[in-house]
Symmetry: C2
DNA sequence: GTGGATGCAAACTCTTTGCACCTTG
DNA sequence: CAAGGTGCAAAGAGTTTGCATCCAC
């Protein structure tokens, strides 16, 4: 992450301008609008670099390929990925962040288990799909 | 799922006798104790058949390879996979079912979103690992 | 005996890596 | 011009599939 390249910028733009998390192939397709020669390997390498630099978040949902999301400026300034969860639309397959959390879940685990964190994924239909597209 | 074969039985035994969810390679290793010639392809085919027959549950955790769990007899009799969640131990990497649920989560989604179901994964240390192995 | 199940190898998806070439600073 | 980044192709995990052989019924 030392040099500024067109491919990195195209990638960041693609993530920033999308309202939802994108998969590596989706990122490739969108970023290729700006840099047609862009390669999937470069996408993966940049994603890793941006993730290590805490500029993007990896969104892993159960049984699904990884998606990535741009970190908002407030979160980047705070130097921490704000804790949040995701909504997966079973119609359009998009993933939306949810800025709410049901709270600590430690009481759900059996006695003796130390709960450190939790992941929550909601499934259903997003507002767009629910209203008949 | 029409014939009874040694490999299917070995696979079912491996899943039934384990206290936690197993990955396909783990299932292969355990079932090969009974049927040494057992092949990974057969494991995958049997897992698919058993899953379609509602005899096992697929456990997908975010960012992790699939695991499988035997359905308890009550659940099989009820013809439905009882709704539950999982605890993932970051020390021993085992996955334990949790027979508790925080309840409906519909209120966490933005207005207009229809929540149909949710997945919850707890992460931390299991009782065995927390007490110093 | 026959069709479903198995074993093996090849194919497929997703992701990572080696290496020569190109580009940024 | 030197180091880091890129593109391409090959290599890895995890999973699926085609096909000849095998074996449960």
């Amino acid at each position: 992450m030392e040099r500024h390249t067109r491919q990195r910028q195209a990638l960041i733009d693609a993530l920033t301008h999308s309202g939802h998390a994108l998969s590596p192939p989706e990122i490739l397709a969108r970023a290729q609008a700006a840099v047609p020669s862009l390669n999937l390997s470069t996408v993966y390498r940049q994603l890793k670099a941006l993730h290590d630099a805490r500029k993007i978040v990896r969104v892993d949902l159960p049984g699904q390929p990884a998606r990535f999301e741009a970190l908002c400026h407030e979160a980047q300034a705070a130097k921490r990925g704000h804790h949040h969860h995701y909504f997966h639309c079973s119609d359009c397959d998009r993933v939306y962040p949810i800025h709410a959390c049901p709270g600590r879940m430690a009481h759900l685990a059996p006695p003796g288990f130390e709960v450190q964190r939790h992941d929550l994924t909601l499934h259903g239909r997003c507002a767009g799909c629910a209203t008949g597209h």
